[in-house]
């Protein structure tokens, strides 16, 4: 399937899903689905750098928060609409990713991971002390009273927006995976020195994939301040984003765009279920941890790794 066809299909699926699910009477569905979709975007974005290129980013929460706080800033400064926040938040997070890449990607492997974690801490402290966006108190972002398309509540809208953005993230990830660029990234992941000696401009490609990955993480965060109408640093920089955006691709499989999607839907839904059915929201990270340990030991290539192995056996 060509990229254009896939993009059209993905957009169509997202729009149809958004339209059909509006019939669901239970409001909680939208809150839960919003969270799962948020993780779909984060996991897909993380995988572009972590799965395709082999550089582990521990700072996903920072880029998510950059997106969220760009929305807050624009709201405070200009009462800017959601769409402006989405575009600006994506760009700012992409620029931050470019900066991180430029400063740290000359280092290899574990050094990049540590630098990404440090960036998250630095940004957290910066936001806590930045009064204009609420500082440690947090900030209110009021949902507009007018809701387009005749939707009953604002959560219905940002759920639909998140659905379209998730489709967009998947289209970007799949296009990269199937391109010459994707082949270059895979070569870097397998052996960076051999890649460079095969003509792959490794530094340029690494910086590019960091930028795209971080921009998409930022995009995921742009709708977040509207989700609860309130945002504060410890929720925007929550450990759960960093952990989940690593765990979901690992559980689903990091070699293709489908893996993070499956991992995010699976893990995200399980977390929602546990939270609702057993009121055990605090257990979420524990569940992630246990599942991650199980998968790393039993299926190191994730669910898609299983599927591939099964296909190969069948093909023989």
């Amino acid at each position: 399937m060509s990229n254009k066809v896939f993009a059209a299909v993905a957009l169509a699926v997202a729009l149809v899903l958004a339209a059909v699910t509006q019939l669901i009477p239970n409001d909680y569905f939208f809150t839960a689905a919003y969270t799962v979709l948020l993780f779909v975007i984060l996991a897909t974005a993380w995988n572009i750098l972590g799965g395709y290129t082999g550089y582990v980013n521990f700072g996903s929460a920072a880029f998510f928060a950059i997106g969220a706080y760009t929305t807050v800033f624009l709201y405070n400064a200009f009462r800017a609409p959601l769409a402006a926040g989405i575009v600006a938040g994506t760009l700012v997070a992409g620029l931050a990713g470019l900066g991180l890449g430029y400063l740290t990607l000359r280092l290899r492997g574990v050094f990049f991971a540590i630098a990404s974690l440090a960036l998250a801490v630095v940004l957290y402290i910066f936001v806590v002390n930045w009064d204009y966006v609420g500082g440690a108190r947090g900030a209110y972002v009021l949902q507009p009273r007018e809701i387009p398309f005749g939707l009953p509540r604002y959560i219905h809208l940002i759920y639909a927006v998140q659905l379209v953005m998730a489709a967009f993230a998947l289209v970007v990830a799949r296009a990269i995976e199937h391109s010459t660029l994707g082949r270059g990234l895979a070569a870097i992941r397998d052996d960076e020195l051999a890649a460079e000696c095969s003509g792959v401009p490794t530094l340029k490609l690494k910086i590019f994939s960091t930028m795209v990955s971080c921009a998409l993480m930022g995009m995921a965060g742009t709708t977040f301040p509207y989700y609860l109408s309130y945002i504060e640093p410890s929720s925007a920089f929550s450990l759960s984003y960093a952990v989940n955006s690593i765990a979901m691709p690992l559980i689903g499989g990091t070699m293709s765009w489908i893996g993070p999607l499956i991992g995010a839907i699976l893990l995200g839904s399980v977390q929602q279920l546990v939270q609702v059915m057993f009121s055990l929201g605090a257990w979420n990270l524990l569940i992630v941890g246990v599942l991650l340990v199980l998968f790393v030991t039993l299926a190191p290539n994730g669910i898609m790794g299983w599927v591939d192995a099964w296909r190969r056996r069948k093909g023989r």
Binding site: L193, A194, E196, S198, G199
Partner: protein, 244 residues
């Protein structure tokens, strides 16, 4: 008539902390020439290869390829100009098939200086795999190859970059006599295509048979360079290899 100089290394020095790995090495290769580079372990052969290929930066001296100073160029630019190398310890792209391993240099290096239509990439990769005798393994995962096949893949991947100069870093270590002959035939084939080859090797039989000229490195200095028969008779070379 002498062919034009393809690679000119002049006064190259490389230090690792207080240790001088290369000490003012001069070395040159002409277009289409077959040169053997020998020396005891730790004499600086691989360091010289790394400086030429751009994976290490030399502190002093100049390296010119086709007359252009390439010291400031990153490794990927050098290979795009036609300067390829294979690795002593094979470095396959383990998550890819053998065929896909060759696609990387075909896409990123060969296409930069040679017209190669996108549709012909697979065809070209299969042709090279056929030459090295890996055609039957094209769709196998490269991580699961035997050591011998990995060495062949290493050479094939360097060839796929369509180099003007190929540096073969101990491609024959651990191969049987008949396999050594296979690899030699392969490198002779490159000569027929006008590709110059630097062969770094401990298998003396292969080096003597293959090289038009041999250079000897000992402790980071070049102590001999010339006709193979003359070089191996050189008293300094014998001393370096066998002791006093």
């Amino acid at each position: 008539m002498m062919a034009a100089a393809l690679l000119e290394v002049e006064g190259v020095t490389k230090r690792f902390g207080g240790f001088t790995a290369l000490d003012g090495v001069d070395f040159m290769v002409r277009t289409g020439e077959r040169v053997g580079l020998i020396g005891p372990n730790g004499s600086g052969k691989s360091t010289l290869v790394n400086c030429i290929a751009g994976t290490l930066k030399n502190e002093e001296g100049s390296i010119r390829f086709e007359g252009e100073d390439i010291c400031g160029h990153a490794a990927h630019r050098r290979i795009r100009m036609g300067l390829a190398r294979s690795f002593q310890i094979p470095k396959p792209f383990a998550s890819m098939s053998v065929l896909d391993n060759l696609r990387v240099p075909l896409l990123y290096a060969a296409r930069k200086h040679e017209k190669l239509a996108a549709g012909r990439i697979v065809e070209e990769a299969m042709r090279i795999l056929g030459e090295v005798g890996l055609a039957g393994r094209a769709h196998a995962m490269s991580g699961g190859l035997t050591q011998v096949d990995m060495r062949k893949l290493e050479l094939a991947r360097a060839m796929a970059a369509k180099p003007k100069l190929l540096i073969s870093d101990e491609a024959m270590a651990g191969l049987s006599a008949s396999e050594v002959d296979d690899v030699l035939a392969l490198l002779y084939g490159l000569k027929a295509q006008g590709v110059a080859v630097i062969m770094i090797e401990h298998v003396m039989r292969a080096v003597m048979k293959f090289s038009e000229r041999i250079a000897v490195l000992v402790a980071g200095r070049k102590i001999a360079d010339g006709d193979p028969q003359v070089v191996v008779g050189n008293a300094d070379v014998i001393k370096a290899y066998l002791g006093e």
